[in-house]
């Protein structure tokens, strides 16, 4: 097994800038120069078989990087999905800013040549024998496994909920997909014309894009104001936990803004049932009593958990706060499984304190690859993930807060002078125009 370095150590500044200019020019001609961030990354020769489960942003970013950095490895990607959704764009679709067509791409175009794509879902993990079983019963042996399945929306925990009715009777949820995000906008648009009573909710489980329920609330308020209907509508936020966001300083900022916007927040108020036809929601209170509220519009971020294949496997946390959801038991720093050394986790599936966002994936994919390479070389994982995540928190059409933080709730702005609590056009432009291109570069393994 040998290790070699490509180009970068001896690459002059002029050469780098020249390459950059060439890449920019190539953009205009559609020529891919093959320039990647891996010009500075280690490449090793290995005959290892690496299996990646899941073709979300994490899975795609991983296989693209592994293809470039593992010379001779067999790489298998397991996922039945043929369409890739840009999930950070769902809030833009659900609030009438983007058309739904902007958030879907085909997986086939994002999976590099040389990767064996098994178009099935993983059904069972057998880490003791280094095997994954697919839905058709195919058994895949692996030397190294990376679990990037994403998570499971668990609407079933809400009695009476039917996602097929999203878009009608004031029922809304930004999470299930582009079509239902568009249907959510239809429901919001209808509500802003008529006014009435809106209920915004937050479940008790860890959720992906934890800012989405807040963005939906800010945007509903904004859309009502734009329509001149704010005084003919009420918005109440029911949080199943004792906050609305996990980072205290951001939580307080949001609460302050909502107080000014006349959006009361009800803590420890968990949505447990919805009567869609009657437009009535039931919330379980901290003391166990039930509060029943009529509504004209309701936004439902569902409880979330690990997919059954992970939840019911030995890979899930066996005890502690992440065991209930069946989240993957990884070390939060190295992202290596705590009990199975040849297993790593990446993305939403990880049972870590924070970070079910695309920003976390962007930062953690290279870390997982680097640590996997260390392992293949017989070394311990060296690179430590600090839990970075980011949320461009829409506060109205045209402005957002650029919130970045880590596991320890430290605000970690990427650029000097960024004010996370400042309404910003720059943050809006990132969300509206620039994040999707950078997301695609992550999926292609260049960032």
């Amino acid at each position: 097994m040998t290790t070699k370095r490509r180009q970068a150590p001896g690459m002059s500044r002029r050469a780098f800038l020249g390459a950059g200019t060439a890449a920019t020019l190539a953009a205009g001609t559609g020529i891919n120069l093959g320039l990647t961030a891996e010009t500075q990354a280690a490449t090793i020769k290995t005959s290892a078989h690496v299996v990646v489960i899941g073709s979300g942003l994490a899975g795609l970013g991983l296989v693209n990087r592994l293809r470039k950095q593992l010379d001779g490895a067999k790489i298998t990607l397991v996922d039945a999905k043929k369409v890739h959704h840009y999930q950070p764009g769902f809030t833009l679709v659900a609030t009438g800013i983007w058309p739904k067509g902007k958030v879907s791409d085909t997986n086939a175009e994002l999976i590099p040549p040389g990767v064996d794509w098994v178009q099935e879902m993983a059904k069972e993990f057998r880490p003791d024998s280094n095997e994954v079983v697919t839905e058709s019963g195919k058994v895949l042996k692996y030397d190294y496994l990376i679990v990037a399945t994403g998570l499971q929306l668990d609407f079933g925990q809400i009695e009476g909920m039917d996602i097929n009715r999203i878009g009608s009777k004031g029922l809304a949820s930004v999470y299930p997909g582009p079509e239902l995000a568009e249907a959510t906008w239809k429901a919001m648009d209808e509500f802003r014309r008529k006014g009435g009573k809106a209920l915004m909710t937050l479940p008790a489980t860890p959720i992906k894009c934890a800012g989405a329920p807040l963005k939906m609330t800010f945007m509903l308020h904004n859309r009502l104001e734009q329509a001149g209907m704010r005084d003919r509508a009420s918005i109440d936020f029911h949080s199943a936990i004792s906050s609305v966001f996990s980072v205290p300083v951001i939580n307080q900022e949001v609460l302050n803004r909502w107080q000014q916007a006349n959006i009361p927040v009800h803590f420890r108020s968990k949505l447990v049932a919805v009567d869609i036809d009657a437009q009535r929601a039931t919330f379980e209170q901290e003391d166990g009593s039930h509060l029943v509220e009529d509504y004209d519009f309701i936004h439902i971020p569902p409880p979330m958990r690990a997919p059954d294949a992970v939840k019911n496997s030995p890979l899930a946390w066996q005890e502690g706060p992440f065991a209930g959801g069946g989240w993957l038991e990884v070390d939060p720093g190295t992202l290596q499984h705590r009990r199975y050394a040849n297993v790593f986790g990446c993305g939403d599936i990880n049972g870590t304190a924070k970070g079910k966002t695309a920003a976390t994936v962007k930062k953690s994919v290279p870390i997982v690859v680097d640590n996997l390479i260390s392992l293949i070389q017989g070394q311990s994982p060296k690179v430590i993930f600090d839990g970075y995540t980011s949320c461009p928190l829409l506060v109205r059409e045209g402005a957002a807060l650029l919130v970045e933080f880590d596991y320890k709730d430290n605000l970690t702005p990427s650029l000097p002078g960024i004010k996370p609590l400042q309404d910003s056009y720059f943050a809006w432009l990132l969300k509206y125009r620039l994040f999707k291109p950078s997301y695609m570069a992550v999926a292609k393994g260049r960032l």
């Binding site: 950059g20 291109p437 950078s438």
Partner: protein
């Protein structure tokens, strides 16, 4: 260095997502350059001032209009990074305008 790579990749993917527009602009510009360059006595230096003047005008207009063109408004431009980004995007439009005006002004001069 990573930030530079991030910017390059972001604009590369942005261009890929708008490939027809990018190629169209590039082809039109190259055609203009070829036509201007075919003039035997093309005085490229004389095109500089008109190009600069148009660039300045486009930059000023862009600075005011860019937020509105991106579903925002100038009232949301509130601090250093906002102004920097608006100025940068406006500069991009200004540069593009200058790139077209420079050769075009040479043709216009000859027509006179």
């Amino acid at each position: 260095m990573y930030e530079i790579w991030l910017i390059i990749n972001t604009f590369y993917e942005l261009a890929m997502a708008n490939l027809e527009l990018v190629v169209g602009i590039l082809v039109a510009w190259l055609a203009l350059m070829v036509v201007a360059g075919m003039k035997k006595t093309s005085a490229w230096g004389k095109g500089f001032m008109p190009a600069l003047a148009v660039a300045v005008l486009v930059w000023i207009a862009g600075f005011v209009l860019v937020p509105g063109l991106t579903k925002s408004s100038f009232s949301n431009v509130t601090y250093f990074w906002d102004y920097l980004v608006v100025a940068g995007v406006a500069a991009g439009f200004a540069g593009l305008a200058a790139a077209f005006v420079w050769p075009a002004s040479l043709l216009f001069r000859r027509a006179q």
